[in-house]
Amino acid sequence: MLLRFNLLAILFLLLGACASGPGFDTGGVDRSLTPQGVTTGPQAARGKQVLWGGAIIRTTNLKDSTQMEVVAYPLDAHERPQHDSAPLGRFILEQDGFLEPESYAEGRLITVVGTVSGTRAGQVGESDYDYPVVSARRIHLWPEDKGGGVSFGIGIGTSF
């Protein structure tokens, strides 16, 4: 009886874990604005609130702030970036203070809510690239996906 209850509790916890997202306050966010959209119309985009997510390319610690270069992907229903979809362009994220680069490491997924503060000219390889710059209000670092998350195994057993 107790065992069954425990199993049920574990089930609920697991299901709950699947649904957990950043839980951001997304009021005032312009969901139609993508990084590419900012690059093509930077004047109109300045000051707009965005909810973007993607994979970290690099994290740089400056004297009193942290900068992150991110490849944006569309977000799913839990605001998690879908990094098997077509990317929406790169952007730079700026955050006051220190973010641990070993945690905010290359390849990790984040979702951020913040304000577009402008664009910055940079380069990808030898190609010029205009990065939209976002001042972060809140950043969510998604837990690392270690080997597939929840797995459903079906065991078939026979014994002699």
């Binding site: 199993l7 220190f98 270690k146 597939g148």
Partner: protein, 185 residues
């Protein structure tokens, strides 16, 4: 009677496997020193805790070999009761552990999990990128490098996994002759 040899060998193997589960972790790592300050407390007010015993652990960032010692830069993580770092992004920050002997940097490599016990010696000013960073420094007395292979491949017990042989290993598919290759004569 080859089948008895096989059975005996199987039991011996089982005993070996079971004893492999027994802990190799040093007692100083398994049990936290009494009244040991957390990394978060020390990073906030290091001066209050100098000379105190700490047990900290986490992920190795860098291993530096000095003449008679090894300096580990570690990203601290919360520890389970038995001293193993949790697999989480929740970190109170970095610290430096000075181990009084040579540790091979190919073994004590980045991403490996380590737990140390020792005395809080001092703090050291360094930089992460351009950001000024104050590292607590621990003079290590005992340490343990956690094995890479986790016992739970998914990080938690898989509630749907059921091993049909688990409760009666001696009735496994090879019963009663044992595993057909190893003990063949």
């Amino acid at each position: 009677m080859p089948c008895h040899v096989a059975q005996y060998g199987f039991v011996l193997l089982l005993t070996l496997l079971v004893s492999a589960c027994a802990s190799q972790v040093p007692p100083l790592i398994r049990e936290a020193p009494a009244d040991s300050p957390s990394l978060a407390q020390v990073r906030a007010h290091a001066a209050d805790y100098l000379g105190r015993q700490v047990r900290w652990g986490g992920t190795i960032i860098e291993t530096g070999n000095r003449e008679n010692a090894t300096r580990l830069t570690v990203l601290g993580r919360p520890l389970y009761k038995a001293g193993e770092p949790e697999a989480t992004d929740d970190s109170a920050g970095r610290f430096i552990a000075i181990v009084p002997e040579f540790l091979d940097p190919e073994v004590y490599a980045p991403e490996r999990q380590v737990t140390v016990t020792g005395t809080l010696l001092r703090t050291e000013a360094g930089k992460v990128g351009e950001y000024p960073y104050t590292y607590p420094v621990v003079q290590v007395e005992a340490w343990y490098l956690w094995p890479v292979v986790s016992e739970q491949p998914y990080g938690y017990p898989d509630p749907w996994w059921y091993d049909p042989w688990y409760y009666r290993p001696w009735y496994g598919p090879w019963y009663p002759y044992g595993y057909p290759y190893r003990y063949r004569q």
